[in-house]
Every structure is written in structure tokens, then in C-alpha cells.
């Protein structure tokens, strides 16, 4: 990143190649659609390029880019009129509001379970889903997750705990 700040475009290509896949999947799965995720993904990188001079050498690049992504995510949801809250109304929806599985309930293959997990992830509140994805997709520690999301360490743990609990319930209900 320092080399990129100094004008080395090749250094940016290296950074980009290293982080593009995981960041993209994180944003698409967090946003809930490829279109929205791709839009936020582009905005994240463009924001990094525009404000490259504000990067501090003390920050790790990984947490820096995901902080930018988090900020873009929040902006995107606000533009859509959706609030970034800890607990959302979705928790109170009855189960028949969930996305129905495309196959008969008697079938239980690993592929279908992964699809079920994807469906269940979309039912999580945005903050819990984000913490889950930062852990599973980007493999950040809880301390890094707390830094990226701007929440405290305990808040990050709590969100992850709730997320896993809901995912387990959702997956069990899908069987």
C-alpha cells in the first residue's frame, strides 16, 4: 500500500489480487445479491484509490480495506432506507416467511445443506451476518472484527454468538 501511495500501480495490482475474491464474496453475501454486492465492491476499491493518501502505515491493509467495505455497506443500506440495527424485525417473522427450499424436504445432500446455509444467512440481521462472514470468509479474529465494525470486542462476540445460534436453528428446521 505504501508503494501504491508512492505511485506504483503494480503494487495495487498485487494488493487487489490478494484480496479480491474474499472481499467480493463477503460483500455479495452480506448485501444479499450479486448486483448490490458488486456495486459496493467497486465503491470500496474506488474509495481506497481516491483516499490512498489517508492510509496510515500502522494499520494492517486487511482490516483497512474491510473497514472501508463496512462503511460502504452501511451507506448502501442507508440509501435503501434500511437501518443498521443490532436487532431487526426479521427476528420476529414467523418461519413461513423464510425462503422455501427448492427441493423436497426429505432430501439432505451436502450441496442442499450449503444452499440452506446460504438461505439461512440471508435471514440473519445484517450486523450478525457481517460478523459471521468476517470470521468465516475473511478469517479475521474477533479483535480485528471489532476494529472493522467499530463495535467493541464483547459486542462482536455477542453478534457472532447470536448468528451461530440462529444458523443452527435455521439449519435444523430445514432438515
Amino acid at each position: 500500500m505504501l508503494a501504491f501511495q508512492g505511485g506504483d500501480a503494480g503494487a495495487f495490482d498485487t494488493l487487489y489480487q490478494r484480496h479480491r475474491g474474499r472481499l467480493f464474496r463477503f460483500l455479495v453475501r452480506e448485501a444479499g445479491s450479486r448486483d448490490a454486492g458488486e456495486e459496493i465492491y467497486q465503491e470500496t476499491w474506488l474509495r481506497l484509490i481516491r483516499h490512498r493518501d489517508s492510509y496510515q502505515v500502522q494499520a494492517r491493509f486487511g482490516t483497512y480495506i474491510y473497514r472501508l467495505a463496512h462503511s460502504c455497506l452501511v451507506d448502501h443500506l442507508r440509501r435503501q432506507g434500511r437501518l443498521w440495527r443490532h436487532e431487526e424485525v426479521r427476528d420476529e417473522l414467523p418461519e413461513d416467511a423464510a425462503c422455501p427450499l427448492p427441493t423436497p424436504e426429505s432430501e439432505w445432500s451436502r450441496h442442499l445443506t450449503a444452499r440452506a446455509l446460504a438461505d439461512c444467512m440471508q435471514q440473519l440481521p445484517a450486523e450478525q451476518r457481517e460478523v459471521f462472514l468476517l470470521k468465516e470468509e475473511a478469517e479475521f479474529s474477533l479483535a480485528d472484527i471489532a476494529e472493522i465494525t467499530g463495535a467493541g470486542l464483547e459486542a462482536a462476540k455477542s453478534r457472532l454468538r447470536y448468528a451461530l445460534k440462529k444458523l443452527r436453528s435455521c439449519l435444523e428446521a430445514a432438515v
Binding site: E38, Y41, Q122
Partner: protein, 324 residues
């Protein structure tokens, strides 16, 4: 509390997560972002060293181009004056022409000829300064040889002969001028407009093409919002994109003329919003009663936003048809 507590770590869920498809950004997206980075830094430190040389090269090229443009401009705008002057040499002024003719002693159309020639000369100049297709009066210039005849008082027969010769010369000149005008007219489309104004004809044609292209391909999403589902489906057939494919399936389901189940073809990556809508419309088309507050739930869950209003309209139409 350790991070390895089961509350915050579930290997089974982690394993399931690893089975999700490995999505990646489109190549166009990669190219766009990398290009933005290059533009921002200007291709790196190396460019700083080559910048002075590049500036000199650019300045030299610009100067050459300017010189060539000015030369061409002068040549194209001043050709008549230059040639007329050459043809009339050494008579380059009206006074000299009048004096030469007076010295020759010609009476037939002599004195009026000088001002007439000047007027015609002005007309020709104006004609070439105006639109190329505008007709220009035939120039009536005499060749230099006629003007340079010795100053001897001619006989009347000689005067008539010379007048006839003048007329023939004028006709020949007029024919030549007409041919040149035609040549200029043909070239005008490629040269004159560029010299006089920045391609208004080309811009007009481009805007006409764009307008006709836009008129020929209406946005199928607009048609969906208007409720013209048949027209929307026809327009969507012409659009090649994954989103258009999903919308075509939705429209087909709405209109009841799609036999294949659309939702099953959706890839795993598009789970969520599209799948839920597909299931909604599937049920609507199969005349199953839908819960009355589904639209409200979808809106609250953020699955139908203002940005995708055409989908909201499609869902509303499906709900209305199922209640009928």
C-alpha cells in the same frame, strides 16, 4: 471466554460455508478498478522521469499539427484570390485593368467591364466563403493574355472578334468554375465543415442514429413498470444478460406462457431475493392463495426496494391476479 467456545465457533457450519460456490468479480469489474488505480497514480514512478520528454514530444506534435491546420485553412480559404490574381497577372488591381483596357482603346463593354469584373470577383469570393452547395455566380475573368495585348487602337471588326473571344473565354471560365465548385461540394462534406465548425452534420447523424436506436429498443423494465408485460417480454428477449434472463422467466410466469419452471434454473449464487420472488410468482401462477401481507413483509425485509420497482409491480400484479 476463549475464542474456541462452541458459542462462537462451529466447525460444522464452517465446513458448510466452505462448500458455498467460489464467486469472484467479473473481469470487467477487475479491469475497471485496475484502470482507476493506474489513472490515479499515472502509471507509477517511472512516468515521472519520462514526463519531460513526453511533454516536448507532445508540444512538438501540437505545433506541427497547428501549422499544418493553418496552412490547409489558408489554402482552402484563399485559393480563388490567389488563382485569380495569378490569372490576371500582372493586372492585380482594378485601376491597372481599367488603364490597360483604356490603353487598348476598346469601346465595347470596356469601362463597365472593369467594375463588372470587380463585382463578379467579389461575388465569386463570397460564394466560396459561404456554404459549398450555394451556387456561385460564374466568374467573368479575362485571361492575362487578353489584357496584355498591345495598346493599339483596334478596328471595329477586331473589336467584335475580341468580344466574341471574350465571351468564349468567359464561358470556358464559367465551365471550369462550375466543375471546381462541384469538386468543392463533394469535398465539403469531409473538409469544409471541419474547417468552419466542429462537424455539425456528423453530430446530427449520430444523434439521429442514437434516437432511432433508442426508439427501436425500449427498456423492458420501463414496460414492466407500466404493466405492459407482453411488450416487456418481447423487449427483454433482445437483451442478453443474466438479470434479463431472470426477468424474462418472471414475465413468462406472469403471463402464463412459460412451461419450464424458471426458478430451478437460478444458480445457487442468486439465492435470496430472486428466489423468493420466483417462488411467489410460481405460487401465484398455480393459483395458490398468497398471504395478504406478503408484500408488506417483503418490503420490510428489504427484498423489494425502490430501485427494483418493476419487480414490486410484478409482485403486486401476481398478488392481484391470485386474489381474483
Amino acid at each position: 471466554m476463549s475464542e474456541h467456545d462452541r458459542d462462537i465457533d462451529d466447525p460444522k457450519i464452517s465446513a458448510l460455508y466452505r462448500q458455498l460456490p467460489d464467486e469472484a468479480p467479473a473481469p470487467d469489474t477487475d479491469a475497471l478498478i485496475k484502470a482507476a488505480a493506474r489513472r490515479a497514480v499515472g502509471d507509477g514512478p517511472r512516468r515521472r522521469f519520462s514526463m519531460p520528454a513526453l511533454s516536448r514530444l507532445t508540444a512538438t506534435a501540437a505545433a506541427l499539427l497547428l501549422g499544418i491546420s493553418l496552412t490547409l485553412h489558408w489554402q482552402l480559404h484563399e485559393p480563388r484570390d490567389f488563382r485569380e490574381t495569378t490569372a490576371m497577372a500582372p493586372a492585380t488591381s482594378e485601376d491597372v485593368v481599367v488603364q490597360a483596357e483604356a490603353g487598348a482603346g476598346r469601346e465595347l463593354a470596356q469601362k463597365p467591364r472593369a467594375p463588372a469584373k470587380a463585382a463578379e470577383k467579389r461575388k465569386v469570393q463570397e460564394a466560396f466563403a459561404a456554404e459549398p452547395v450555394a451556387p456561385a455566380p460564374p466568374p467573368a475573368e479575362e485571361p492575362a493574355s487578353a489584357l496584355m495585348k498591345p495598346a493599339a487602337p483596334p478596328a471595329s471588326a477586331d473589336v467584335a472578334a475580341e468580344a466574341l473571344q471574350d465571351a468564349e473565354t468567359r464561358r470556358a471560365e464559367a465551365d471550369r468554375a462550375a466543375a471546381e465548385r462541384e469538386m468543392f461540394s463533394a469535398d465539403a462534406l469531409t473538409t469544409r465543415p471541419q474547417l468552419q465548425s466542429p462537424a455539425p452534420m456528423a453530430r446530427k447523424k449520430q444523434s439521429e442514429y442514437a434516437a432511432s436506436a433508442a426508439a427501436a429498443a425500449p427498456d423492458y423494465r420501463e414496460l414492466m413498470v407500466q404493466g405492459a408485460y407482453d411488450a416487456a417480454l418481447a423487449a427483454a428477449q433482445r437483451v442478453e444478460s443474466p438479470t434479463a434472463q431472470v426477468d424474462r422467466d418472471l414475465l413468462g410466469r406472469l403471463l402464463g406462457n412459460t412451461a419450464a419452471p424458471a426458478c430451478a434454473r437460478l444458480p445457487v449464487a442468486t439465492l435470496g431475493q430472486d428466489r423468493l420472488l420466483c417462488d411467489l410468482l410460481l405460487q401465484a401462477s398455480q393459483a395458490r392463495p398468497l398471504p395478504a401481507d406478503w408484500l408488506t413483509r417483503l418490503r420490510e425485509a428489504g427484498l423489494i426496494t425502490g430501485e427494483k420497482s418493476y419487480r414490486r409491480h410484478a409482485v403486486e400484479a401476481a398478488l392481484n391476479s391470485s386474489r381474483d
